[in-house]
Amino acid sequence: MKILLVGNPNVGKSVVFSRLTGVHVLSSNYPGSTVSYTNGFMKLGAEQVEITDVPGTYTLDPTCEAEKVALEMLGQGDRIINVVDATNLERNLYLTLQLLERDTPMVVALNVWDDARHHGILIDLEKLEAALRVPVIPTVAVSGEGMKQLVEALPRAAAPRHPARTTSERWMAVGDIVGRVQKVSHRHHTWKERLADASLRPVSGGLIAVAVLAGIFIGVRYASEGLIDRVMNPLFQGVWAPLVLRVSRMLGGGGLLHDLVVGNITGGTINFVESFGLLTSGLYVPIAMVFPYILSFYLALGLLEDSGYLPRLAVMVDTLMHRIGLHGYAIIPTMLGFGCNVPGIMATRVLESRRERFIAATLISIAIPCASLQAMIFGLVGARGGRYVLLVYATLLLVWLVLGFVLRRLMRGFTPELLIEIPPYRLPSLRAIAQKLWTRVRGFFVEAVPLVLGAVLVVNLLQSLGLFDAVADFCAPVVTTVLGLPREAVIALAVGFLRKDVALGMMAPLDMTAGQLVVGSVVLAMFFPCIATFAVLLKEIGPRGLARSTGVMLAATLVTGGILNLLFD
């Protein structure tokens, strides 16, 4: 049996899903955090049933990619759990009535039940059940309340086959039901609502937006550097280094195997960035340099996502985003891209048109450095002075703006207007934040760390075989003249296809000037996305889109790198 979780955006479907299946999916407090479906399993009596978390939709007449996915899924379910936001019964019931006109048996989970009571909204469950003719179960998914009752109600799921209605008839019916089952007592505006208003007004909202973004940037940097200086470096230098030196002696202090495992050690001390062995750079780069940034960035992002601030940020930046062919909501995929480009590009599915999705995905893959690369930029470029780091960021911001402006002009079509629901502010639950952070951190260790080790191994093997020289000779003219980088940097740029953090690490031993490091960082950020981003681009914008995007990328990288190089000359 296959059960579908269907409902409006941001009503808590993903939380219900996690509760029922024990599979933790990322959920946030903004509409559209689930852009593709997730499957999980649950025991129902003796039977193992499949549950699908369907992206949120307001109606069954789809207006964007995520809603199309939702509609396509509907035909495949044997049962539907319609998750309804009890604080917003009227709008949610429209979809409920649409679903009831179909013939899949359904139960209704009346979620956020606790908030509805706090807001003075009283819903008569018996009357609502009578009107809909399906079981209605009050739930509070975040605390697990009502989940047992919801599962028990599944066998009673009914398909009353309401008569097909027109849009206006349906709204009439909704109004009629709400009038009979819901009583709203008067309530005062809370402090959260006052803050909600302030963060949307032009002046106060602008100041709040700048403060939030600057706070994240500075907070993430200091937290990460603190973790690196106080925990990671002492651990690697004090505990790990002596062990590695022992391994080095065991392997005879030299030879191919020694260089693969331990890397290049001179004078009995280990330079963890430059030695480039599996046990040295292979572990130090991902764990000591990158992981602290992953941890603190995703903690900040999780708090931001669950508070409900992101849609407000979308409103504040909407006017600016229209200048680059997008609307404000594209800021959410962009923010996700700062962690890793892959989920960022996938999140562009919340945008309405193909044109917008192409622009947003291309801009993310070119101008948004992921957390791993940013960590290395702070570590290596930052060592030459903070102003060089700022220069890298300023250049990428400028590229983002200029490129977006150009793409908007080049591509036919227009940018649809912003139309989004703004969720109420919620105090993020510690449990949810910790769970989400754990999911993302585990993802980094499972997917990224092995790839870093693989990249280090492959680079060493190819280097010892002398294969890189041919590639380097071939590309060297462009890299040395236009970009002003040393010939060996070609290899680092090629490695950027696997992992950008490893690639920037490879530039460390090249005796580059601060200016060259800035050019190298910018080129790495812009030039060819890493293999994972490449794959997701292909999936999301298709082969033709990817070809065009790559063309834009090559041109933009050479122009930007060339100009920077001239400025430093």
Binding site: N88, R91, P202, H327
Partner: protein
């Protein structure tokens, strides 16, 4: 209380309340607004608008919706005003 003039959501003052009278524009846009609860007969409150024809935020049934300036200019509401 006296019924005021017909104004668009874009023109309403922050905090002003009104009842939606009609929504102009393509059917597709009307449907999307309707799905979010903005349709004739509904009481709305303007929350804010941005500089330079940025989005307007309106509250309908306790739920805030951000709409682009163009759409906000096509939502006509009868506002509530106190008699002079």
């Amino acid at each position: 209380m006296q019924e005021g003039d017909l104004v668009t959501a874009a023109e309403m003052a922050d905090g002003q309340q009104g009842v939606v009278v009609r929504v102009d524009g393509e059917q597709m846009m009307q449907d999307r607004l309707e799905a979010l609860g903005i349709r004739p007969g509904r009481k709305i409150r303007k929350v804010s608008s941005a500089f330079m024809k940025g989005p307007t935020v309106i509250e309908v049934e306790g739920c805030s919706i951000a709409v682009g300036f163009g759409m906000a200019s096509r939502i006509f509401a009868k506002t509530e005003q106190t008699a002079p």
